[in-house]
């Protein structure tokens, strides 16, 4: 399926995804959206793992397994993050990140 597509194309896509994620994380105020941005970052890394594995060591599978682990951990992380967000919502009646600023000097 990926025969004939050069490596650079994949890398460009993953880089764009990564920076979209970073921008989203920094710019968006909604905690859920920030969580989605983190997922974008993680998945851009996943793409890199899979692609490098396929192009550099086609007969090995470490990169692909690594990306499977990342997906698993991302799921766990999302569940913890959503639990936190629900608690924040219960306390503040919104999920704007700017309001979560208790931990400072």
């Amino acid at each position: 399926m990926i025969q004939g597509i050069p490596l650079e194309h994949f890398l460009v896509v993953s880089t764009i995804m990564f920076f979209i994620g970073v921008c989203g994380f920094i710019i968006r105020r909604n905690l859920i959206t920030m969580l989605m941005a983190i997922e974008l970052i993680l998945n851009s890394v996943n793409i890199n793992f899979v692609v490098f594995n396929r192009y550099l060591y086609p007969d090995q599978l470490q990169g692909q397994f690594f990306s499977l682990f990342i997906v698993g951990i991302a799921a766990a992380e999302a569940s913890v993050a959503i639990a936190l967000i629900i608690n924040i919502y219960r306390n503040m009646k919104n999920i704007e990140v700017e309001n979560v600023n208790e931990m400072k000097f």
Binding site: F25, I26, I27, V97, V100, N101, M103, K104, F105
Partner: protein, 638 residues
């Protein structure tokens, strides 16, 4: 070697008593502490007498008394060679000192049962007395200089505690501080002396240091500093320590003030035992001083001679009876030092050494008696000043008789104890130094004069109007007086020349009539002058005082030594040394440290806004930082 192991208990009992009374004394009735301390001291005393009996009169060969070390432990081991030991050394002078210390201490314990009755801090008093006795006994039986130094300091501490016993009284606190600081100042010399001596010889042990014909000083001959040999330095510095403790001129200023303590304490510490520690130290190091540092021995003789004259002159003009006795103590300590200073080594040559120890013994007896008698007088009239006393012989018969015996003893009238010991000192002085003999001869007359001035002023003279009739002291106070009076009479007949000599061999002495008769005569002259001037109230003494004018005033004010020292410390040392150093400390060192703290605080205040609590700010900073790092890495690697 064995057989004397029980001497450990002589020292341990007072220590145990100190701990028990000090820790539990508050819970009992005060009298329980007193009786407990007295019983403990009584046991120590008995053991000391047994030790002395078996040591002096037991079997010993023709080569004289042996130095016995019945007990010794390694206390601190720093290296293979640097070991500090604790132990018990028995030789003639330490056995004699055991007897002196425990006897006087026991008498003072009994006496204080009456004297201190009803005072606050009765248990504390007895605890400190036990501590002092422990320290003093530890000092005299020390096997090495370092052990001696440790107990030396302990003695100083207990003296400090007892002088300041009435700690509500500012003058007592000041006197305690003064005694502590002056003696500490001298002890610095002692410590340096010990270090030099042990550096040269490689040992602390008295037994090795004082062995005749020892070779450990061989390396000392080549060492010198500022043109004076190392051994002279070491011995002179050690003598400074001894001079501080024994209140030799010019470190004498603390002793008269130390009379602020309770009178039994003055009798025990500042008359009979602690102040002779300096004499004891010189006697202990005598072979070393005599053979290795003759210049120091000369110095000791002159310091002793000057102190005895100086103090005797001051004693004539004082009115506080305890201060008169304090200056008299100074004067007699001067005698002992001088006697050691003019002594030779071995046989008849060592007469001065024997005379010094003899005088130490007899002086301890009659001076303790004088102080306890003075305590009895103060107890009766509630004043220290001679002007408040007079005609007391009717009211205080026992005190009167015992005090008279002590006065005769110190004046050197035969057959009382002081005659024999003072006579030996005069003979020793005459043989070695005519000038010092003349000084001591005059001092003997002065001693008789000021003692009988005191005696007549207190017991004769005009009857004062007392607020309530003075009464004789209770038996607890009278018994020690009588015992010590008995000792003052008989102790002159003890055969000291067979027992305590520089080389531990006995020798024969004979009373030199050429010295004895004039010395008794001058004593009698002194007494007669006191009789004429002070027996009846008269205006002659006041007139005489006026005719001496400025000289009298100077003497009355103790030649302004206190003022001089105060001037030196307050005006010179404080102003020109201490204040600049204090300024440097506060404005340079302290300010630097404070500056570090303040700078840190200021910077933190400025940058604390960075911790805003805004998650996205942190994320931005993190990403920006990572990007910057990545870009710089790329730039560098390209």
């Amino acid at each position: 070697m064995t057989g004397y192991t029980y001497t450990v208990f002589i020292i341990l009992i007072p220590l145990v008593m100190f701990l028990v009374i000090g820790l539990l004394g508050m819970k009992w009735k005060p009298i329980v502490s007193g009786i407990l301390g007295t019983i403990g001291m009584g046991i120590s005393w008995t053991l000391s007498l047994i030790t002395a009996g078996s040591y002096f009169f037991g079997v010993h060969g023709t080569e004289g008394f042996q130095t016995i070390i019945p007990f010794e432990i390694k206390w601190l081991q720093f290296t293979e060679t640097l070991i500090i030991k604790m132990g018990i050394l028995l030789d003639p002078i330490s056995v004699m000192m055991l007897v002196v210390v425990t006897t006087i201490s026991f008498m003072v314990h009994i006496y204080s049962l009456g004297y201190m009755k009803g005072e606050g801090g009765f248990a504390r008093f007895y605890a400190f007395l036990s501590l002092f006795t422990f320290a003093m006994l530890g000092l005299v039986i020390a096997t090495n200089i370092f052990q001696m130094y440790i107990f030396w300091e302990l003695v100083g501490v207990s003296s400090f505690l007892l002088i300041g016993f009435y700690y509500q009284k500012p003058s007592a606190v000041a006197a305690a501080k003064k005694a502590f600081i002056v003696t500490r100042f001298a002890d610095l010399g002692f410590l340096i002396g010990i270090l030099i001596l042990s550096f040269v010889t490689g040992t602390f042990d008295f037994a090795k240091l004082t062995q005749p014909g020892t070779t450990i000083f061989a390396s000392a001959a080549s060492m010198s500093f500022m043109g004076i040999s190392a051994m002279t330095w070491a011995m002179t510095l050690m003598f400074i320590g001894g001079a501080g403790k024994s209140a030799m001129f010019p470190l004498h200023i603390w002793l008269p003030d130390a009379m602020e303590g309770p009178t039994p304490v003055s009798a025990l510490i500042h008359a009979a035992t602690m102040v002779v520690a300096g004499v004891f130290l010189v006697a202990r190091m005598f072979p070393v001083i005599h053979f290795q540092a003759p210049a120091t021995q000369e110095l000791i003789a002159y310091v002793g001679g000057f102190t005895s004259l100086f103090a005797a002159v001051i004693a004539i003009t004082q009115y506080d009876i305890k201060r008169i006795l304090a200056f008299s103590t100074l004067s007699q300590l001067g005698y002992m030092m001088l006697s050691l200073g003019v002594s030779g080594y071995g046989g008849e040559e060592g007469l001065g050494y024997m005379a010094s120890m003899f005088h130490l013994f007899t002086h301890a007896m009659f001076k303790a008696l004088l102080f306890l008698g003075a305590g009895s007088i103060i107890h009766a009239v509630h004043s220290n000043l001679m002007q408040d006393m007079g005609g007391l012989r009717k009211y205080l018969p026992i005190t009167h008789i015992t005090f008279l015996i002590a006065c005769l003893a110190i004046s050197g009238i035969p057959p009382f104890a002081g005659f024999f010991s003072k006579d030996e000192i005069l003979v020793a002085a005459l043989e070695h130094n005519k000038l010092l003999f003349a000084v001591e001869y005059i001092v003997a007359g002065l001693t008789a004069f000021y003692m009988f001035r005191l005696y007549f002023g207190v017991f004769w003279g005009k009857d004062q109007h007392y607020h309530h009739t003075p009464h004789e002291s209770p038996m607890t106070m009278a018994i020690p007086l009588m015992f010590l009076a008995f000792m003052s009479i008989i102790s002159g007949f003890l055969p000291f020349h067979n027992l305590i000599t520089s080389d531990k061999m006995g020798f024969e002495t004979h009373t030199d009539l050429m010295v004895a008769i004039p010395s008794v005569l001058i004593g009698v002259v002194g007494i007669a002058m006191a009789w004429i001037l002070y027996k009846k109230e008269s205006v002659v003494p006041a007139k005489l005082a006026k005719s001496w004018g400025i000289l009298y005033t100077a003497t009355y004010n103790k030649f302004y030594f206190d003022e001089f020292y105060l001037f030196v410390t307050r005006k010179i040392i404080f102003n020109y040394i201490s204040r600049p150093i204090a300024w440097f400390d506060r404005h340079i060192i302290d300010a630097f440290m404070v500056g570090i703290g303040l700078t840190t605080e200021k910077i933190s205040y400025q940058i604390k806004g960075m911790q805003s609590g805004q998650l996205q700010h942190y994320a931005f900073a993190f990403v920006a930082g990572t990007l910057a790092l990545a870009l710089s890495m790329i730039y560098l690697l390209m």
